[in-house]
Symmetry: C2
């Protein structure tokens, strides 16, 4: 399946901060066919550093999508049955308007002038996209990590437009520890003298800071066990007597690789969107946010995920159940830590397939 | 108790890497009185960023020592009964020879020319210090985190010189995850353009990189729970609408504070010593390292310590017991994460007091 990225443009997007982006672009891919009733559309929501290329082989890069093991003919999200939509988030750097986009007022990249965005803003832009396709109600929204936050926000902001939501390995708001890990990444970027308060597009980018930020991220995505299995205390065989541990080499490689595909300002803007996301911000019980919702939920978490621990998924489940919503929750056994939602296709497939089928039949 | 730091100088210290430091200084403090038989001496071993000032009020700074809640008259390490010695580690930056010390061959700080040091080198220098005091056998060696590694190394390198060892919240070797966290800290320093491969002493120091490294460390020293209790999602009350989370402000403050008292090269040298420490490096069973040892052990770990999880202490206990050594192990309940060994004085005091008394009686 060779896939290509499309772009939709809208005249304006109002933001929670009070400002607006005019115009705004959103990059997206689709897989499968939208049926005549427009009732088989599923929106896939990517995690922090993802992009619109969720499945198939990219026409541009030749690489498979980030959830290709889950999306395709006969897979969990079966493209023979469903019409899949996947878009790049607002504030990102892979086709959707973000800090590296040209600000039409100045003719230069937004840089430090890019407004803060929220998960709700991200979802609001996605809603414009699905509206433009004539889709009144999505069969499902699904995503892991920050994708799960978007799935929750969809269910709360547009309950009539979502038949089912699948928040995976996620939370309804970040803990102090989750904010702290993001903040250290941001500080690594800001500490880079090439950052220039975000206005670096006509010079060297803050690559060293961004690489360090990514290394921290990678540790939190894996588990103690999965790192032990993958690296242990093995060293690179170098002539040098003071040879590196393999895990050190891996982190440096992944950090260096990341800077070629990601923008430091997007790192800051998107991690801020995650940190400020709080489904319960207004006070009062979390469950009140789900009042009157008819959305069905499948909530998944993973045993070794210490970045988004299972207790956070269970808080969501508790709130949903206390409003008597239709919610299934499974904690999956895995050693892969937070990465499990990307890696563990087997059990997720069985659970998601049945959940989607039943939702589709009930429409 | 007003205390002052002394310095002992030795002509030479042979290092595991094959090089030697000539001369070498070691900064230390003592509390209490050495008895006539020289049988009541206890060596306290500090963690990564500690120094010789473990107890009392510093004559120089007016501040209490890092384990003042544990060392003093009537405390866990009772200075009415025992003679306490605490020294700064080799490679450090608080009086003992390290990268910021003057290299007598050049008249300039060692900087990039400082040799790699091992935990065994650190302990070898401590042994010179206790030998110089005429102490043939220490009543005990005790320390948490990297201090626990030194306690283990003492028991293995000088089993006849240690009646009892207390490795607390530690491991006999770092896991891939522990190496990874240290490596990201090192990379944050190396990424700072002020680092100049370690030769920065006559210019601006790599303060931004060192501050980022410290922020990462702080997250790993706390627990998810303790961060929630301390910070939650509270924000600073600023006029700015985009106000900071308290946890962000705390991390920036601690990072900034650290650079005023710590040296970036010491950060690299000492974390390397921790990462390369492997009591089982020669292969074969770990327990073989304790063959013939008569040392008694008290091993402590803490339930919420995810940086040095209890399973690592239990590996040590298993090895010791399989050689039928006298070992007591307690996993203490605490929410404080790795910091617990510094904070939780109550239960540690009860355990350590009795253990020391019995060891002293049996001498």
């Amino acid at each position: 399946m060779i896939v290509t990225t499309h772009t939709a443009r809208f005249d304006s997007l109002e933001l929670d901060c009070g400002r607006a982006l005019e115009p705004v672009d959103i990059a997206y891919q689709t897989y499968g066919e939208l049926n005549r009733e427009k009732s088989n559309a599923i929106l896939i929501l990517h995690a922090f550093s993802g992009d619109a290329h969720a499945a198939g082989i990219s026409e541009q890069t030749g690489k498979p999508g980030w959830w290709d093991n889950m999306i395709g003919a006969g897979k969990a999200f079966d493209t023979n049955r469903y019409f899949m939509i996947s878009s790049n988030v607002l504030g990102g750097c892979s086709g959707t308007t973000g800090p590296s986009s040209i600000d039409p007022r100045s003719g230069h990249p937004y840089g430090s002038k890019f407004p803060p965005v929220s998960i709700r803003d991200i979802v609001r832009l996605q809603k414009k996209l699905t509206d433009s396709m004539g889709i009144e109600k999505l069969l499902a929204v699904a995503g892991g990590s920050m994708g799960g936050m978007q799935a929750l926000e969809w269910a709360v902001s547009y309950p009539q437009s979502v038949a089912a939501a699948m928040p995976i390995a996620t939370t309804h708001r970040h803990s102090a520890q989750q904010i702290a890990f993001n903040e250290v990444g941001r500080q690594a970027i800001v500490a880079d003298p090439d950052f220039h308060r975000g206005d670096y597009y006509d010079a060297k980018h803050p690559e060293r800071g961004l690489a360090v930020a990514r290394m921290i991220g990678h540790i939190t995505y894996m588990s103690d066990d999965s790192m032990r299995e993958k690296f242990g205390r093995r060293r690179l065989k170098l002539a040098d007597e003071d040879s590196m541990f393999e895990v050190e080499s891996y982190l440096r490689y992944r950090g260096g690789q990341f800077v070629s595909r990601f923008d430091a300002n997007s790192y800051i803007v998107i991690t801020r969107a995650m940190d400020t996301f709080d489904l319960n911000a207004g006070g009062g019980p979390l469950e009140a946010r789900f009042d009157g919702s008819g959305t069905r939920f499948l909530v998944l978490s993973f045993t070794s995920d210490w970045l988004y621990p299972s207790y956070q998924s269970q808080e969501i489940v508790r709130a949903l159940r206390s409003r008597n919503l239709d919610v299934a929750y499974v904690e999956l056994e895995s050693n892969y830590g937070h990465d499990a939602f990307l890696v563990e296709a087997g059990e997720q497939t069985a659970l998601i397939k049945g959940f989607l089928e039943k939702t589709f039949q009930r429409l």
